[in-house]
């Protein structure tokens, strides 16, 4: 679906990314794991078209940019609009919103102003918004942090359900190797400054999206294999 080739990305004379070269297949979930501050969010901004100022190119396989739903690192809701309006404003003419609100336990607060939501609710609404537009590609920037474990499970399930229901590609940025192992088909490990890929791992098909223990085991194996080359940042 997408091939990304970034020679360099600089901020104020400083290289923050690259060289970096990877592809994302149709229907694939690719996790990008690296220490915080290594440029993962910048990478997502570039893929999302919000930052055209880089040396390199994005190539979409069918020639045009797909419909992209983004879950930013902060919820970025419109506090002066209600929960439901926050969905409706980005999804003119679609009405899958109600089901998502129910799934993510936001139905009771659908008419409350987004300003009144707790941190966890705001995050869930941001996730609902990204999926409400029926995206062909979702960009997820640490989407499940600051959710309690039960809610995080629920929210990950929203991603997997959407993925099973329709062809959907996803770029998942996270610093949590277990989360990456639980959700992704492939894991791209970034490190260094400027950030470069140090390893690409394919999750064995029989162990994909297997949940809890298997994912934890997988993450432990990866960590061991990498040794000192890779340390997860908090």
């Amino acid at each position: 679906m997408l091939s990304v080739r970034i020679r360099t990305k600089r901020f104020a004379q400083r290289d923050v990314l690259g060289p970096l070269d990877f592809t994302l297949g149709a229907g694939e979930i690719l996790a990008i794991v690296g220490p915080s501050g290594c440029g993962k969010s910048t990478l997502l901004r570039i893929v999302g078209g919000l930052d055209p100022d880089f040396d390199g190119r994005l190539t979409w396989s069918d020639g045009k940019t797909p419909r992209i739903g983004t879950v930013f690192q902060t919820p970025r809701l419109l506090p002066w609009r209600t929960v439901r309006q926050n969905l409706d404003l980005v999804t003119p003419g679609r009405d899958g919103g109600d089901a998502l609100l129910r799934r993510l336990d936001l139905w009771p607060v659908r008419d409350a102003f987004a300003a009144t939501l707790s941190v966890g609710m705001a995050r869930r609404l941001a996730i609902a918004r990204a999926f409400a537009i029926e995206p062909e590609l979702v960009l997820l920037d640490e989407p499940f942090v600051s959710l309690d474990e039960a809610m995080a499970v629920q929210a990950r399930q929203v991603l997997l359900d959407a993925w099973r229901y329709r062809p959907l590609s996803a770029l998942l940025v996270t610093h949590d190797l277990v989360e990456a192992a639980a959700l992704a088909d492939r894991i791209l490990l970034l490190s260094g400054s400027p950030a470069r890929p140090i390893r690409t791992l394919v999750v064995p098909p029989e162990r994909r999206r297997a949940g809890g223990d298997i994912a934890a085991g997988l993450a432990a194996e990866i960590r061991q294999a990498l040794g000192d080359h890779f340390r997860e940042g908090a």
Partner: protein
């Protein structure tokens, strides 16, 4: 509610009583008592002159207000958005901000004649720079993260303006509108006094020449009441609506 509301009602009442007492004590033509002024107010209203003058003045206020808000906001938005526009108009604003209101009024009357468009333009021009400066600050304070969000979800220009930008600008718009109205009221009277033969400002000049302090104060009072009425019936409800979402 409760004590604060009472205090609010009590204080103007006390002012009225004080005024009445002092005026009666002095017994001078230069300071008529409150009761006489209210009588004059009633008389002028019944005669129809005050409502007519007030309506004409209000029309001018509305026209100048709308003109300065629309042009000032547009200029302020552009200046807040693009540095080049900001730098280009900076000196214009400085000049406009520092030309005394009366000079601007007299110049426009000289250049364009003693007519309605010149009168309204000179009032609007007096208010425009302050509006532009306020709105420019508002535009600079727009949250980039939310703009990115709107862009990434491909919200249309109109939707972004209405649901993302305007709610963030609303405190600045209210500030500009408030300051604008109080300034425009005052300047419109000067404009009328200098070069129009209708409106409250014109009437003030007539009563000034007749040394009729009672009627002068009656007009002033009517003015204050209308102004406060507007604040209560339009500005405050609008502002409450815009701020509903705040906890």
């Amino acid at each position: 509610m409760g004590r604060i509301t009472w205090l609010r009602l009590l204080s103007p009442l006390l002012l009225l009583i004080l005024w009445e007492a002092v005026a009666r004590l002095l017994g001078s033509r230069m300071l008529p008592p409150a009761s006489a002024v209210f009588q004059a107010l009633g008389r002028e209203i019944l005669a129809g002159t005050l409502p007519r003058d007030l309506a004409i003045t209000l029309g001018r206020v509305a026209a100048a207000f709308a003109l300065s808000m629309v042009l000032g906001s547009a200029l302020g938005l552009a200046m807040g958005r693009w540095r080049a526009v900001d730098q280009f108009f900076e000196s214009w604003l400085t000049i406009l901000l520092n030309v005394p209101a009366v000079v601007l009024i007299v110049l426009l009357y000289i250049w364009f004649g003693l007519n309605e468009p010149a009168a309204i333009a000179s009032v609007a021009l007096n208010k425009l720079p302050a509006t532009a400066v306020t709105i420019r600050e508002g535009r600079r304070a727009i949250d980039r993260d939310l703009s990115d969000m709107a862009e990434s979800f491909r919200m249309t220009r109109w939707r972004t303006l209405r649901h993302v930008v305007l709610p963030q600008l609303s405190p600045y718009l209210f500030a500009a509108a408030r300051n604008g109205l109080s300034l425009i009221w005052k300047i419109v009277l000067v404009v009328e006094l200098l070069g129009r033969s209708s409106g409250v400002g014109f009437r003030i000049q007539v009563y000034f020449q007749l040394f009729d302090v009672t009627s002068l104060l009656a007009y002033t009072l009517a003015f204050i009441l209308v102004m406060q009425g507007f604040e209560w019936s339009v500005m405050q409800p609008l502002e409450r609506r815009a701020n509903r979402w705040r906890r």
